[in-house]
């Protein structure tokens, strides 16, 4: 595993020259690029002017000590994502505990054992690489705020009940579209279509959490709660339909197929949390509300309406969004009929 480790850019911060040389030469020997700083102030200057993957930080330093550097980094949104390993002598264990509680990634005792140094540095670099990947992935599915919040909490949001609006959207008769045209056209169509839908959803504080074929699922009001999530979901739906009109005009101009979509929204309690493994995780929502949103979306075709919502969603909308009651519908698998509303454009 260690041989596969990609080299990292490391900053060694220590006021003690012997320690600086030792750590720098040792880490360079493992293939990393190493810079050094003699005190906290110098360290922060280097961190702000250059990019690093990992910092090895001494606690005992004159002027600005390791705590202060650690705290400054953790409060700085630009530096917060760089992991910090505290280096300390054995008798500073209390200080080390404090640093780890504050948010240091790990610690190493001095004199540093070479085997431990290599293992801990590589583990930290690997964790950072995974976090960077997740951050990149997440930013394409959600707003920057949501991505930051998730990274801050370390994707550790355990399952919990949240009140949220769930949206399902599908392209009508997509299977037959796919059969009629060139596969390259189909994939291009999907990519262009999703790009537009993502814009509408993320622009209205939603998070896309599932893509399957031509369908997508999005959630509003979670992972970060917002009291206007019902309004946000419906505004996103209206924007999606609006963007689709422009999309179809362009498709027609290029002699390509035009599409129609159906959007279903339901609001209520959902169980939300991260599922998957350490290497691949998805923000998932399950529960009755999710099933209901899928059923409502499915009903758009029969109702011949592009946007359908449930009653609870309809009660959270401002007056400028016009809705029409379609009456109660008994969905398959549901005990009670559900009042459905069409959103007017």
């Amino acid at each position: 595993m260690t041989s596969k480790q990609e080299p990292g850019r490391l900053l060694v911060v220590d006021d003690n020259k012997v320690n600086r040389i030792l750590l720098a030469r040792g880490l360079e020997g493992y293939g990393h690029k190493v810079e050094t700083a003699e005190n906290g102030k110098q360290a922060l200057e280097k961190l702000r002017s250059d990019s690093f993957d990992l910092v090895l930080l001494d606690i005992e330093m004159p002027e600005m000590n390791g705590y202060q550097v650690l705290e400054t980094c953790l409060q700085d949104s630009e530096l917060r994502h760089i992991p910090i390993i505290m280096t300390s002598s054995l008798d500073e264990i209390d200080s080390v505990v404090k640093c780890v509680e504050l948010g240091a990634e790990d610690y190493l005792n001095k004199p540093v054992n070479p085997v431990l140094l290599r293992a801990r540095v590589n583990a930290s670099l690997e964790k950072k690489r995974l976090r960077d990947e997740q951050r990149k992935l997440f930013r394409t599915f959600a707003t920057k705020e949501v991505a930051d919040e998730l990274l801050k909490t370390g994707f550790s949001l355990g399952g919990k009940f949240v009140n949220a609006s769930v949206m399902f959207a599908d392209i009508r008769s997509f299977t037959s579209i796919g059969e009629k045209q060139d596969p390259t056209d189909t994939i291009e169509l999907l990519n262009n279509y999703f790009a537009l839908m993502f814009e509408a959803i993320i622009g209205n504080n939603g998070t896309v959490n599932q893509l399957e074929g031509d369908g997508l699922m999005a959630i509003f009001g979670a992972p970060i709660y917002h009291e206007d999530h019902r309004k946000h979901a419906v505004r996103a739906a209206l924007e999606m339909i609006e963007l689709l009109k422009g999309f179809n005009v362009e498709q027609a101009a290029r002699g390509k197929v035009q599409i129609k979509i159906g959007i279903g929204i339901a609001t209520g309690k959902v169980i939300a949390g991260f599922t998957g493994t350490q290497h691949r995780a998805t923000y998932t929502c399950v529960g009755d509300t999710v099933n209901l949103a899928a059923r409502i979306e499915n009903h758009t075709k029969e109702a011949q309406q592009p946007i359908l919502i449930d009653q609870y969603t309809s009660e959270g909308l401002p007056i400028d969004i016009e809705i029409e009651a379609l009456g109660p519908i008994l969905f398959k698998g549901k005990q009670q009929p559900i009042h459905i509303f069409a959103v007017k454009q």
Binding site: D15, N16, K17, V18, N19, I21, L22, R25, G26, G29, E60, P62, S89, D91, K110, P111, V112, N113, P114, L117
Partner: protein, 111 residues
């Protein structure tokens, strides 16, 4: 007790790479007298914090090279500093002598 613990020194060499061991020894031989003189200055100025910090760094370096006795002496001074006790008797002279022995030995270990 040997002046330099060979196992620790070998580990150090393994970590820095043999070609850098001279650089490390030189840094140690250069910095330690500075630390001792700063401890003397701190002692005269009753600057407990500076005294403690220099003793701490000296201890750390001594332990890095496997200079067990020197490390123990520095640790004792660091602890006294931590307890605000600068009534150290002749301990600094003893430490200086111990460093002299370590320096002699280390010079012979350069490659």
């Amino acid at each position: 007790m040997p002046v330099i613990d060979k196992a620790t020194f070998e580990e150090l060499k393994q970590m820095s790479g043999a070609e850098f061991i001279n650089e490390l020894i030189d840094a140690f031989l250069e910095d330690t007298p500075n630390m001792i003189s700063q401890m003397q200055t701190a002692l005269a100025a009753k600057d407990v914090e500076s005294f403690r910090r220099n003793a701490h760094s000296l201890k750390s370096n001594a332990n890095t090279f496997g200079a067990t006795e020197l490390g123990a002496l520095a640790k004792e001074l660091e602890l006294m500093g931590r307890e605000n006790n600068l009534d150290i008797g002749n301990r600094l002279e003893v430490l200086n002598e111990a460093f002299g022995k370590v320096a002699e030995e280390l010079k012979g270990m350069r490659v």
